[in-house]
Subunit: 258 residues, 2 copies
């Protein structure tokens, strides 16, 4: 085996909600970029690139996103550092390729942000669950590197975190109906939620306040519009405060999958 250098890259999984191509229901989509050099040339991969010495990790993620997809997500969180020694080697390719450790981030963008995205020859938006493959479906075309594993992990994190953190609001614009908020949860969790109970839970959480306005133009009773009144928490470790009050329980953390 030849001498290897370890190279650091930063990649990002970006989630957005768009109508499903067949059902029309809100569904998780994400952009992929086509690799234009070896290894895995021609295959689809997560947007990313090498870490520049002058960039922080999250800054690198944002900079690469802007350059490759034109996106600037307002929710961005570190997912995991992937560093298996053989993860950058093609199964049938040369075994002596450079070793790459990737720090992967995941992001959420609103529909209005996603609409501004470029969609050229080398960027393609796909339904997230079609990319990883359904349990009963055919195996999809594999992603470059271990990006299939990365995406599965990002989906698991998103689905876990929406249950205990107000990240669902990152998919929504300033004003929204409670039905729209419920559709975000339903799209992420892939299961219907009881509208009555969902409404009560959200209102009890004190996370939203009515704006007084209503959505018009529907063929039924005009739903009230709400706005978010809590911050979407940052998962940055530097924001970790002093030890919590020992008399109150701690909330779940961000980083992994049970």
């Amino acid at each position: 085996m030849s001498e290897q250098r370890v190279v650091l890259a930063v990649s990002t999984v970006i989630f957005a909600l768009r109508p499903h191509p067949t059902t029309g229901r809100p569904t998780l989509w994400l952009p992929l970029v086509r690799r234009i050099r070896e290894p895995y040339r021609g295959q689809w991969a997560l947007p990313g690139g090498p870490l520049q010495p002058e960039d922080d990790l999250a800054t690198s993620a944002r900079r690469t996103l802007e350059r490759t997809t034109g996106l600037d997500p307002h929710y961005l969180e570190q997912l995991y550092a992937f560093g298996a020694v053989d993860r950058s080697a093609c199964g049938d390719g040369p075994g002596s390729s450079e070793r790459v450790v990737s720090v992967v981030y995941w992001a959420i963008i609103r529909p209005d942000e996603a609409a501004r995205a470029v969609d050229g020859d080398n960027v393609e938006w796909r339904v997230a669950d079609d990319v990883v493959g359904r349990p009963d479906g055919d195996q999809p075309e594999p992603l470059a590197f271990d990006h299939g594993t990365v995406l599965r992990y990002a989906l698991a994190r998103l689905r876990a975190k929406i249950g205990y953190s107000p990240i669902a609001y990152a998919f929504l614009t300033d004003e929204f109906t409670l039905a729209a908020l419920r559709e975000v949860h339903e799209a992420v969790l892939q299961r219907p939620l009881d509208p009555a109970n969902f409404r009560r839970q959200v209102l009890a959480s004190q996370a939203v306040a009515p704006t007084g306005r209503h959505l018009t133009g529907t063929s039924h009773r005009p739903p009230a519009l709400y706005r978010r009144v809590v911050a979407i928490p940052s998962a940055d470790p530097s924001r970790v405060t002093a030890p919590a009050d020992p008399t109150s329980p701690t909330e779940p953390d961000t980083e992994e999958c049970a």
Copy 2:
């Protein structure tokens, strides 16, 4: 600013339970190593070292731990990748030092494993909350690099995760009383738990089974001994399975702090 190279290192926060020096109650301890070179020479730091090209990230963490502290933890999980551009620069030191990105792991070891640990001039075990500093106490001697932030984050992760994952068993040997299991939770959460309710919750979780044996030599009723019958889950993203059954809710993931 001179040209910088990005170097990748792996460090580990290792937790063990030992009696508190004054109260005698089970308390979180961790080993620190003294830095023998610049930057931060002479200050205490988390055990770690540069990533070797032939090691996976977790392998690197284990190898460095063995070499510096003699420890081989049976629970090891990735915490976070720290990569701020200035994190390896001393506040009053030279500003042109090498840039280091650290992938940090955290680990749990049992008392019998911790007893085998070396405790030389350059390794010192400390009470975890004394290292980060109590809210009302004096500020402790700062750790090297951003390891104070790292440790605070690791403590937050441990305290969050013990609430929804059976990691408490990683602190215990094969046979244990339910009181010992409760003391693990109390030490981590820093608050007393109701023995009656705790017992019921643990038994209802189906995570333990009685061995039939009892602990003797106490000055009261001999408590029954139990053993763990569930696996301590690995947080490795490669273990993420196919999308869960959409009709059942998802459990919290591992990676972050609310």
